[in-house]
């Protein structure tokens, strides 16, 4: 009996093109979009574009800075220097042909001889500023050495271009992780919660005051739980399979590293799918509102939850942790993200188990809540 109804439920759900699109295609589209948007960031080394910068040197200005810049242009390809005079530089800057102007003055100004002039505060500008900063520091150091022990200056100069790696990475994890992984974790979380639509369908096919099919089913000779369980099982199966597809797509087609604990990753998505389905089921069980309204509430809940887990804006977790930590503890999508996190970044399973338990508790609460609402077997009106 269970198995037969389960199979039918599988058939029925998998033929709902729309729901399948939701759960299967949408995450894939979004994953591809992420990949496109963060394309450069995911590469092992971040390749910056050459930053165009104007260089204005007064006569008699120290050549040290110019040499540094030349080095950066030729060896590192970090900047592209336009040598020009003051007025033209300003025009170039205003027309956004260059990102900033380095002024190299002959006479010492307050903050040193070289200054940077910019019009905005974006990434290129902050790179230019750190170039200058580093130069200033070295310049200052050289000055000090010149005063304290002029003989040693040559030895010190040799050190300037040397790359030294003083720090070794502490052994907290073996998994390389980029900031962008967060987005993909959030994507998986959203993928799990896509189950809301399916969960809603369960409620609609189950409550006699919501649909005709439910009336017919309730009037039939099968017990109510006998019909509910296969439905839940089938929807969870399908949702889980969809999630697995997306995860595979991300890992194998998009080549995004989601960690090496694939089994536990799948377990997380399974629990996540259960939460998603129960969430939809819970929303569907509330009252007798129109299906379109409930659908809207479902989608809103899903998007809000994913948003709070950092789907659209990264760093959401840290932001919430500061202002409303409770959200991170009860928001299903955040919990899914966090459990993937603890799985792949923090070794040891304690934190992972904690997240999973929270998720299960949420699933149980939603489940019992929904059961309590639909337990009533006779309706006041149909």
């Amino acid at each position: 009996m269970f198995f037969r109804l389960y199979i039918y439920s599988l058939k029925q759900t998998s033929r709902q093109k729309l729901i399948m699109f939701w759960s299967l295609i949408f995450p894939i589209i979004l994953g591809t979009l992420f990949r496109a948007a963060f394309g450069e960031f995911l590469e092992e080394e971040v390749i910056f574009h050459q930053i165009p910068v104007a260089y204005v040197a007064e006569e008699g200005a120290s050549l040290a800075f110019e040499e540094t810049l030349n080095l950066l242009e030729e060896d590192n390809g970090l900047v592209k220097i336009v040598r020009t005079d003051g007025e033209e530089a300003e025009i170039l800057l205003k027309e956004e042909k260059v990102e900033g102007i380095f002024y190299n003055r002959a006479s010492a100004a307050e903050k040193g001889n070289v200054s940077l002039t910019v019009t905005s505060q974006e990434m290129s500008q902050s790179i230019l500023s750190s170039i200058l900063e580093q130069y200033q520091r070295v310049f200052h150091t050289m000055g000090n050495i010149g005063r304290e022990n002029p003989a040693g200056i040559e030895a010190a100069v040799k050190e300037i271009g040397q790359q030294r790696q003083y720090l070794t990475e502490g052994g907290i994890t073996d998994t390389p992780k980029s900031v962008m992984t967060d987005y993909f974790y959030a994507l998986i979380a959203m993928d799990c919660l896509m189950g809301v639509s399916m969960g809603l369908q369960i409620a609609i096919n189950y409550k006699a005051n919501l649909s005709n099919i439910a009336v017919r089913r309730v009037a039939s000779g099968t017990s109510r739980f006998g019909m509910l369980m296969p439905d839940l099982a089938a929807r969870i199966t399908i949702q889980f399979l969809c999630t697995v597809c997306s995860v595979c797509y991300l890992t194998f087609a998009m080549k995004i590293s989601l960690g090496n604990k694939f089994g536990l990753l799948l377990l997380t998505t399974l629990v996540g799918s259960v939460v998603g389905i129960f969430m939809g089921f819970f929303i569907g069980a509330i009252g007798t509102y129109k299906e379109s309204l409930k659908e809207g509430v479902c989608v809103c809940c899903m998007m809000l939850s994913s948003f709070l887990a950092g789907l659209m804006v990264g760093g959401m977790y840290r932001f919430l942790e500061r202002y409303a930590p409770i959200v991170n503890r009860i928001n299903p999508a955040s919990l899914i993200v966090k459990s993937l996190y603890s799985l792949n970044i923090y070794e040891g399973y304690e934190r992972y188990t904690q997240c999973m338990i929270s998720l299960l508790v949420i699933a149980i609460l939603l489940g019992t809540g929904a059961f309590a609402m639909i337990r009533r077997e006779r309706y006041a009106s149909i």
Partner: protein, 316 residues
Amino acid sequence: MAEQIIEIENLVKRYKELVALDHLNLTVTEGEVFGLLGPNGSGKTTAISCILALLQFDKGSVRVLGKEMQPDSYDIKRQIGVVLQNVAVFEELTVQENIDYFCGLYITDKKERKQCVEDAIVFSGLEDFRRFYPKKLSGGLLRRLNIACGIAHKPRLIILDEPTVAVDPQSRNRILEGIQKLNQEGATIIYTSHYMEEVEQICTRIAILDKGRCVAMGTKEELKAMIKTGEKIHLEIWELKPEQLEEIRSLRHVYQVDYREGMLEIRCSGGKHNLVHILDYLARREISFGRVYSELPTLNDVFLEITGKELRDSAE
């Protein structure tokens, strides 16, 4: 004596202000085709929902197959087939799958079910549409599918709630014939409709509902015997003086006369040879007349006389 399949006693159901069922009493005996007739909003669907234990009701009791009906009386439910007003099938399942699905909610034995599904498909004439999805079916076929889903498990009691709404005449006839066939095979049938012709055609016993009350119950002959009208005579008369109208009214058995737009309607209570008497009178008065026809009372007349309302007009 045949078993009482359904016994409803003093059933009261209120929707806030509206009283949908007002101390309804009904009994249905095994083997009947029991018709529930009434205009829309008279409480037919509500009564059926109560029988199926879908609705909470305020007072009274419903006994089905000799037992109190409860939402979890699955042994009773297994013997009932339901076809509700609205088409309730899965859009995503084919015709055959739908029937098999719903049948499977009643019958667990695989072999038996296979046979049942096959029978239901043949019964509803959907042989050529097995692999069709409901969306592709025409209105009439969809209704037949709706019925097939409800009766596939060969229930002892079949409840049909307006199964012929919005169905073309051919499909309707097929449905009605099918219902009679099911009855002949031994099923008890409850049939609701606001089409009195249908009810007259197939039902062996009829209850007329109005405003949640059962206003009359019996075979159609009994019902018709209940009212005064035994015969209705229509005459086309172009000119009729008021005093002549009075004279017609005073004829034997005539109890109501209506003259409107050249048509005279005379209602007679029982008696024989009414038409002869009237024609005789007209001949004596030398009143010329055109078409003449006489008809026996319909359920509509029954309804009209009991409630003072047209059944037909309040429908739709």
